[in-house]
Each structure stands twice: as structure tokens, then as C-alpha cells.
Symmetry: C2
Subunit: 658 residues, 2 copies
């Protein structure tokens, strides 16, 4: 690539700088410091290394790029425009941060071709990049260098490194020797509140070495050093951190090197002075033809490589193409359907975490892209099934990840696996500790990724481990989150139905909230996937009912028992099993009204009562938890907190009296 001399590179980098600063100036909002500081690194990376093809932004074997410091979004938008991505033009840059623009405040996956991930919440990008690099190694191990061999690059700042999730992610990357992961750290010594040393003294080089990384330190404004470092990183047998010493806001005469240029437009005066300073005699949004041409040439570098790959991919055939496009094999759920029938026939009584394992035993062998795992709780979450193989640094050809005690990184890595493609991830932990990965789950919901969370020990049914381990508010806390499905199945059949829906839903993550304790089989038919309706009548007569009990998971059998008791006493009650309120809310009003009926309603769930008024109204009753749980045997806790058959029966009678 000798055609790009240093002076040309410098002008190309300045094109990034001025497009970024001009767009931020125009929108009166944004973060110029990072695009200006990292323009040199980005120019070398994108013109000499990144294997991408702007005409085929979704090329499977492209290098991935994650702007972990997502606030520097203009760096990304400038790059995509300069490289010739068709999805973005100069007007999009002019519309930076305007409603409906592709150039959103932070890069948003799916809004603009060339964005490999939504970033902004710090630490998520670098951690999901570990998932991308992991996916690459797994698929490489299965299909070989011809079909899958690429790098994952990250640009991040100090913020990402201070966030705890980064430690979880880099320690797993080091452990698994993900040597095609290359992190370019914008080492500018500035955060929002001032110089980094006000709040941090970490020796990052030593820190990364402690978790098994290759490290390189360079001047982030020196093209030779940048190029040499990336070339060396590509050859490492470990993941690499390149510490790029940079000046934040490079080029801005008075604000460079200070936090003043981090998160606000430079201002007309400073921007004019920067034009002088960098000898950039062009109007806002103007890129001189030779510079633009040089960028467009760089963008075309891999067209032949793409074509060669595409030929090999087509030759590899449907199996490979289905694999990388995450298509489920035909009849993938045939064993799952068998399991349902068999379980009904045998009246299988198991905890739903065990039911989930039975499902996984029926699923995993039939979906090659599955990548399962657990955060050190495989034996409790029951996420591992016969025939699975754990991915190790010696052999990536597996489908189980031992995430370690790293819930947050697990969430982010699963996002990275799903974003990369050729991987359908699920991961387990205790439901209560899903709090640890909540920021990653939110991003999965926002990006619309197929990620499945296997969250066991879902209520006070946890028992002796006590309130630190008993989820109370968690069901409600996910039901209020947009675009995530919260399943709480009541038996093997509903668990299987939930798994079917979770895996078929390509653009929504799903939670499976599963019991520790055993539950009876309640369903007597599995012909229709009733869980797909969100809620349905599992016992009782729609028309004759005098009251309706609405319950989820472990409390459905309680509701059924109460219904039987009341029937003995001559009171007709219907039981609605509501494994997924979000799906129920999507049904027609007619369906909803038909299921819930007009008789008094009572919701039963061993969890926070919050939100159930939506279904029982102001005059119904809710049997649930008002505070935290307690340590003790599970059955005693149900008694203690009044989630009992007697309580349900009394509630019905009281409502009928009114």
C-alpha cells in the first residue's frame, strides 16, 4: 500500500477531522475530541488493514469494527462516507443527530450499513467485540480459513477500560487466546471530568498483560508506528492492546488536550482556527477531490478478495450459507415436539430448569449455530447437554462457553456472537444475577438480537439461599423493558413452547425464567403452541366462570389446585396461564377479553405485584410479594409470604362477596 504516503495520509485524516467537527458544529451537539484524536489511527486502519467492501457491507468474512467509544460516532460516519458506503451521503453528515437521520447521536446497528454494533454505553463495545472474535474462531474451526478468517478491531477510550465489564471480557479473551482481536486504545489521558489521573492510576499495559494479552505502545499520530503495530498485532498468538498515545481534539488550537473538546462543538472561532492550523482551506463538508478519491480507492481495495470469498462461499453450498445467515434447519424442532408429546404421556414432573435442559437436549443437536454456556452455574442452570463440547484455547470447534463468573461480559459476548452471525447464543445464570448483565440485555433489546437468557432459580422457591438470591422485582423489571420477551413457563410443554418462540424470534431477545423446584405437568395437549398467545385458559370454562385466576410459572399449579378446591365447593373458576405478558399484549383486544373474561380477576405470582393491575384492574386482587424474600426452606417461604392455596381460595371468595 505504498501509494499512500504520509502527507496523503495526513490529509485523509484531516478529512475525517473536518467532516466530524463540521457536522458536530452544525448539529450544535456531539463529541469532537475523539474523532479528531483518533483520525490518524483510523486512517491507517481503514486504508491499510480493514478487510471490508463498502459495496457489500454485510460480507460475512469482513473484518469487524467496533467503535466502543460510541460518542465518537462522527469518526464512524466520516469513515463510512469517505470509504464510499452507499447507505450514507454528505447530506446524512449534515443531518447528524437530527430526528430520523441515519447519523444518530451514537452509532446504531441496523440504522446505517457499516455499523457493526450499537455503542454508547461504555464498556459494551470492547466486550461484545470479544464475542465477535470468539464467533470468528468457532466458525473458522468448523469451516476453515477459506471461508472464515478475519480480525475484529476495536477503538475505545479510557471509559471503556474503567468499566468493570471490560475486565471480565478481556480476561476471558486472554484466557481463550482470541488472537484476532485487536484493541486500539485512544490513550489521551482525558475524561469528562478532567485528566484521567484524577480518578485512575491503572497501569493498563500491565493490566492487559496480567490477563494474557500482547501489548504495544505507540504514538497515535505517527503513521509508521500505527502501521507497524497493527501488522505486529495481526501476527500475535494473543489478543493485542495497542495503546495509542493521542491528543484529544488534535488540531484544535486551544481546546486540544483538554476535556473541553470532549462533548461539545468546538465553536465557530476554534473551528476556523483549526482550519488555519491544519491548513485545511475548504468549506464545511467539502472534501477535495484527490482526498476523496484516495479514500474511495482505499474502499475498493478488497473487492477482489470479496469476489474470491463469495465464490468459495457459493461453492460451499446451502449448508454453509444457512449457517452463516443463522437460518434454522428445517424441522429443527421435531425432537422438541416429540418431547412435548412424551412429557404429556408420561406426566413428567420436573423443575422448569430441568425441563429447559430436556428441551436443550432436543434442540442443540439440531441447530449447528447454537453457542450455549453459563456464568459458572452450568450444573444449576442446566445449560449443558450431552454431545456439547466446550470451546477452549486449544480447540475452538465447540458449542459451549464456560463464561466464568462474568455475567455482564456473558451478556455482551452473547451480543457479539449474535451480531457476528453464524452463532445463536444462549447463556445461563441465576435470575437474580441477571441484574449484573442488564446493560448488555438492554443493548440486545435495542439492537434486536436473538439472544436467549436461561435464568433459573426464579423466585422465593430458591429457598435457603435467601433474599440476596431470590428474584422479586426481576419479572416486572424486564416486562417494562422494550423489545424483550419474558417467558415464565409452568411445565415441560410451556418450556418447550418458550424455547421454540425464543429461537424463532430473530429480532428480539428472550428470557426464560425457570424454577429451581419441581412442578407438575399441567398441559394435556401440545398441538398448538399456546405460549405464542402469551396467555390462555388452561383450566375451567370461559362461560361458567365466576372468577379468573391468572398465574405464571410455578404459580399456575397453585391456581389449578385452588380451582379444584373451589369447584368442590361449587364455585366455578377459570385459570389463565400467562407465560408471556408481552405476547399476550400483542393479541387482539377480542382475544384478550375472551381470555380474561368479565368475572373478578386475581393474579398470582411469587414476585413483585407491580404491573398486574394491567390485567386485574383496580378491583381485582394480586397475590404476590410486597418486599424482599427470606432464607428458609422454599415451601415454608410460600406459606410465610401467603402465596398459598388457602390465600387464593379466600381471595376468590372475598371478591365474590363484593
Amino acid at each position: 500500500m505504498t501509494f499512500l504516503q504520509n502527507n496523503k495520509l495526513s490529509e485523509m485524516a484531516n478529512a475525517i477531522r473536518f467532516l466530524s467537527a463540521d457536522a458536530i458544529e452544525k448539529s450544535k451537539s456531539g463529541h469532537p475530541g475523539m474523532p479528531l484524536g483518533m483520525a490518524d489511527v483510523a486512517t491507517v486502519l481503514f486504508t491499510k488493514f480493514m478487510k471490508i467492501n463498502p459495496s457489500e457491507p454485510r460480507w460475512f468474512d469482513r473484518d469487524r469494527f467496533v467503535l466502543s467509544a460510541g460518542h465518537g460516532s462522527m469518526l464512524m460516519y466520516s469513515l463510512l462516507y469517505l470509504l464510499g458506503y452507499k447507505d450514507i451521503n454528505i447530506d446524512d453528515l449534515r443531518n447528524f443527530r437530527q430526528l430520523g437521520a441515519k447519523t444518530a447521536g451514537h452509532p446504531e446497528y441496523g440504522h446505517l450499513a457499516g455499523i457493526d454494533m450499537t455503542t454508547g454505553p461504555l464498556g459494551q463495545g470492547i466486550s461484545s467485540a470479544v464475542g465477535m472474535a470468539l464467533a470468528e474462531r468457532i466458525i473458522n474451526a468448523k469451516f476453515g480459513d477459506d471461508l472464515c478468517a478475519h480480525y475484529t478491531y476495536v477503538i475505545n477510550g479510557d471509559g471503556c477500560l474503567m468499566e468493570g465489564i471490560s475486565e471480565e471480557a478481556i480476561s476471558l479473551a486472554g484466557h481463550l487466546r482470541l488472537n484476532k482481536l485487536i484493541v486500539l486504545w485512544d490513550n489521551n489521558n482525558i475524561t469528562i471530568d478532567g485528566t484521567v489521573d484524577k480518578a485512575n492510576s491503572t497501569d493498563q499495559i500491565k493490566r492487559f498483560q496480567a490477563v494474557g494479552w500482547n501489548t504495544i505502545e505507540i504514538d497515535g499520530h505517527n503513521y509508521e508506528q500505527i502501521e507497524k503495530a497493527i501488522a505486529q498485532a495481526q501476527k500475535s498468538d494473543k489478543p493485542t492492546l495497542i495503546a495509542c498515545k493521542t491528543k484529544i481534539g488534535f488540531g484544535a488550537p486551544t481546546k486540544c488536550g483538554t476535556s473541553k473538546c470532549h462533548g461539545s462543538p468546538l465553536g465557530a472561532e476554534e473551528l476556523a482556527a483549526m482550519r488555519q492550523n491544519l491548513n485545511w482551506n475548504y468549506e464545511p463538508f467539502e472534501v477535495p477531490e484527490d482526498i476523496l478519491n484516495a479514500w474511495r480507492e482505499a474502499g475498493k481495495r478488497n473487492e477482489e478478495a470479496y469476489k474470491a470469498w463469495d465464490k468459495k462461499a457459493q461453492a460451499a453450498g446451502k449448508e454453509f450459507l444457512d449457517y452463516i445467515n443463522d437460518r434454522l434447519p428445517k424441522n429443527w424442532d421435531k425432537d422438541l415436539n416429540e418431547l412435548k408429546k412424551k412429557s404429556i404421556a408420561e406426566g413428567t414432573k420436573v423443575a422448569t430448569r430441568k425441563a429447559s435442559q430436556l428441551c436443550l437436549q432436543a434442540i442443540v443437536p439440531n441447530i449447528p449455530q447454537i453457542v450455549g454456556g453459563s456464568a459458572d452455574l452450568a450444573a444449576s442452570n442446566l445449560t449443558f447437554v450431552d454431545g456439547m463440547k466446550t470451546v477452549t484455547r486449544e480447540d475452538y470447534n465447540g458449542n459451549n462457553i464456560m463464561y466464568g463468573i462474568r455475567e455482564h461480559a456473558m451478556g455482551a459476548i452473547m451480543n457479539g456472537l449474535a451480531l457476528h452471525g453464524g452463532a445463536i447464543p444462549y447463556g445461563g445464570t441465576f435470575f437474580v444475577f441477571s441484574d449484573y448483565m442488564r446493560p448488555a440485555m438492554r443493548l440486545a433489546a435495542l439492537m434486536g438480537l436473538r439472544v436467549v437468557y436461561v435464568l433459573t432459580h426464579d423466585s422465593i422457591g430458591v429457598g435457603e439461599d435467601g433474599p440476596t438470591h431470590q428474584p422479586i422485582e426481576h419479572l416486572a423489571s424486564y416486562r417494562c423493558m422494550p423489545n424483550i420477551l419474558t417467558f415464565r413457563p409452568c411445565d415441560v410443554v410451556e418450556t418447550a413452547e418458550a424455547w421454540q418462540l425464543a429461537l424463532e424470534e430473530e429480532h428480539t431477545p428472550s428470557i426464560l425464567a425457570l424454577t429451581r423446584q419441581g412442578l407438575p405437568m399441567l398441559r394435556d395437549s401440545a398441538e398448538l403452541n399456546m405460549t405464542a398467545r402469551g396467555g390462555y385458559i388452561i383450566r375451567g370454562d370461559k362461560k361458567k366462570r365466576q372468577a379468573t385466576l391468572i398465574a405464571t410459572g410455578s404459580e399456575v399449579s397453585l391456581a389449578v389446585a385452588a380451582r379444584d378446591k373451589l369447584k368442590e365447593e361449587g364455585i366455578e373458576v377459570a385459570v389463565v396461564s400467562m407465560p408471556c405478558t408481552e405476547l399476550f399484549d400483542k393479541q387482539t383486544i377480542d382475544y384478550q377479553e375472551e381470555i380474561l373474561g368479565t368475572a373478578p380477576r386475581i393474579a398470582i405470582e411469587a414476585a413483585s405485584k407491580f404491573g398486574w393491575e394491567k390485567y386485574v384492574g383496580l378491583h381485582g386482587d394480586i397475590i404476590g410479594m410486597d418486599g424482599f424474600g427470606a432464607s428458609g426452606p422454599a415451601e415454608q417461604l410460600y406459606d410465610y409470604f401467603g402465596i398459598t392455596l388457602e390465600e387464593v381460595v379466600d381471595s376468590v371468595k372475598n371478591l365474590l362477596k363484593k
Copy 2:
């Protein structure tokens, strides 16, 4: 302490081992591996170093102890019993993990004297210990060695070190040189899913050194090494990690050294063999007199030291005693009350984040125990006010912490500050990033701590930063969490009222959800703290109303505008400001009905609609968000998502038509 010879120490450690193993056996549930493995370290620590007085468990100047690996709770309970804490007897050990027992599955703060913190969720203990060590240094700087000079000890396992929060916390501890913090790492190479090396290869020594810690490696079963290491750690000018190489389940003949003894009772056979193995010829729960006496003697070691301290504390007088007991000074809120009056008189129009800063300017000089801070967003959260001083490693005598980009550690450190006492913490970040510290917030709620979260940028009002930065589900997600107050004030007066309530509520953490954007002054009187009622009528006539608008924060002014518009059209509407639903729920039914009325109700909140049916019922309306936000100017976003005056007016008219 030469009276304790090694053979005696060994027997004393075995007393811990058998009490722990017997209790776990009896309860058929629990984690024996850690108490057995760390019994030797704990014995040396508690008999030779810990400055505690079992007769005065709350002694302010005691050393703090955090069992970060909370699943090893029997280690703690055995210690407390052996040392002679009156709050625990042998029957409590027999009742381990039973409902209502003081000996809960995991150590619970407030349930049993001598427990300095609730632990169980991994990583929280070691991180809150940083807060305790920080409180000690701050108070030491103010009152001197005579009144406050003690150590904070932590026992943790690999789990705590793998959790990302630990990196955030230890890097801040190293940065601030909290040299009285001593961490004893149970380095047993075992996690639930097997040996540590299956999921982690971190060089922990190098990792801690990278963040400025002193490190020592020892055999955790060698008494001389343990004693020497702790003595050396006490003299270090840095925090110290003591890596204690141990055998998990030490003494159990076949399960020792494996994950089999981590989380289940040993079983009768193994336990009997362990008795033989360790030559322990005593019945379950029997501790021979000489061993018990030796422990009780050790427990009394500091009685004189306590008396001497108590004398000095009494001599220091009321100011000091009020300080360490976290009593608010009389009339602490006089300036705050003035602020309210002045703001009404001047019609102050500011963002509620700015209102909060005005409040802090009135609060901080009047409460000496305040320890504020922000996770690198001081200039956005407006958490810093004139006269505050940042705590640095050179000078701990301050009241502002620069937490860095470490939300999770900030949450845990604030817990540690509050637990230590002599510190009333608040900390700021963007509301959306409260997700990062949610596990610590949950523990604050569970422990009942006075911690205040200043969470700004509370809706789509964030504007251009887009959906990654716009909270949607967050209000609902905290309203469903037990024992936490979620305030969303609408103007300066309500903000001041929220601050008053948050600071006067000693056993409940509080969230202040505050706007980025400016808001008008709505209140015309500040005589009563109306926020204390949770919700109240801010505009309109109770009796004449044809509809009721219920709104919070920035949407109250929208509701008021709609009310004015409707009044022009001859429709009478009342507006309920609802700054805290949790407090409203605590009012009498009569009050609630009086405020909400019987006319149709409409809730307005620029957030997830989830949960509002509780107040508007099945036939009301909710104007809010159904999905994630978007990037664009704030006013345009309100229009785009239909949270507008027109929408409210139309909703009222539609409801009235029905």
C-alpha cells in the same frame, strides 16, 4: 499474642470447621468448602488482628470485616459464636438456614450483630469494603487517630475477583491509596463449574499490582505465614492483597480440593471421616471447653482498647457522636427551606438537575457527613457545589469523590460508606446508566441504607444522544424494587422536598430522577412537604373535575398546560403531581381516593407505560413510551412520540365521550 501456639490455633480453626460442617449437614443446605478452607486464615485474623469487641458489636472504631464470599456464611457465624457475640448461641447455629433464624443462608446486615454487610452477590463485598476503607480515611482525616483508625478486612474467593465490579473498586482503592484495606483471597483454584483454569488465566498478583496494590503470596494453612503477611500488610502504604493458597474443603478426606464440597453438605460419611482425619472426637455442635475458652479470650482482647476509645469519644463530645451516628444537625434544612421560598418568589425555571444542584448548595455546607460524587459526570449531574473538596490520596479530608467511569463500584462504595457510618453518600450518573449499578442498588435497598442516587437526563428529554442514553423502563424498574424510593420532581420545590425526604429516610435508599431540560416553577406554596404524600393535586378543583391528569417530573408542566387549554374550552380537569408513587401507595386509601377521584384518569410520563394501570385502571389512558427513544432534538422527540399537549387534550376528550 504468644499464648496462642500453633497446635492451639489448629484446634481453634477446627472448631470453625466442624461447627460449619455440622450446621450445613443439619440444614441439608449450604457451602462448606470455604469455611473449611479459610478456617486457618480466619483464626489468625480474628485472634491476633481484628480489633473488635463482641460486647460492643457496633463500636465505631472497630476493624471492619466483609465476607465477600458470602456463601461461606457459616465461617462468619462460627466465628461470631466462638468469639462470644451475645446475639448468637449454639442453637442459632443448629438453626442455620431455617426460616426466621439469625443464621440466614447468606450473612444479612441487621439480622445478627457482628455482620458488617449483607453479602452473597459476588463482587459486592470487596467493592463495598473499599467504601468502608474510604470512610475510615475521611473520618480519620477529620478527627485523627485517636477517634478513627482501623482496618477493613475482606475474605473473598475467585468469584469476587472475576466479577467486573472488583476491577472498578480495586482500581479506585489503589488510586486513592487506601492502605488500611487488606484483602485475603481464598486462592483455592475452584469454582462451581470446576477448576478456575477452565475459565480464567488471570495473573491476579500482576493484576493487583497494575492498579497500585501491595501483594503478598502465602500458604493459607501456615499460621506463621498468615500472621507475618497480615502484619506486613498493616504497614503498607498501599492496599494489600494477600493471596492465600488454600485447599477448598480442607480436612474432608475425599472432597477436599474439588468443587464437590463447594455448595452441598459433605454427607454423613465424609463428615465422619473428616472427624477421624482431623482427630476431632466431639459430637456435632460440641466445642471442647479449652478451645471455646481460648476463642472467648481472644474475643475479649480489645475490651480495654474499646474503653479507652469510648472515653475519648465521649470527651470529643456531641458533635463527634452525632457525626459518627449519622445524625443530621438540627435545622440542617433551613437553607433548603429558604431556597424553596426564594424559588417560588422568583419563579425559578431550571432543569431539575440544576434544581438539585441548588439544593445541594443549600445542603452540603449543613451536613458534615455528606460524601458526594459522580461517575465522571459531575458537570452533567451537577453534583459538585461550591465549598466541596475532592478527596485525594494526598488529602482525605474532603467530601467529594471522583469515582471515575465506574458506576457499579460507585454504587457499592456508597453502600460501604453508609455501612461504615459517619458518611451520608450521594452519587451521580445518567439515569440510563443506573443499570450498571443496579446490583449494588438492590443491596442498598435490601440492607436499608441511606444512599441517594442523583440520576440525571431522565427521559427522551436527553435529546440527541439517542436511545442508548434515554431511559425508558428505568422508572418502572425501580418502582417494582422493594424498599427504594423513586422521586421524579417537577420543579425546584419538589426537588428540594425530595432531597429532604431522601436524607431524612434513614433506612431506605432514594433515587432522584432529574431532567436535562429546563422546567417551569409550578408550585406556589412550600409550607407543606407535598412530595411526602407521594402525589397531590397541584392544579384544579377536586370536586368540579371531569377528568384527572396524573403526571411526574417534566410532564407535570405539560399536564398543567393541557388543563389550562381544556379550561378554556370549558372542561374542568385536575392535575395530580406524583413525584413518588411509592410514598403515595403508603397513604391511606381515603387520601388516595380523594386525590385520584372518580373521574376518568390519564397518566402522563415520558417513559414506559408499564405500571400506570395501578392508578388509571383498565378504562383510563396512559400517555407514554411504547418502545425505545431516538436521536434528535428533545422537543421534536416529544412530538414524535406523541407526548404533547394536543395528545393529552384529545385523550381527555375521548375519555369524556365514552
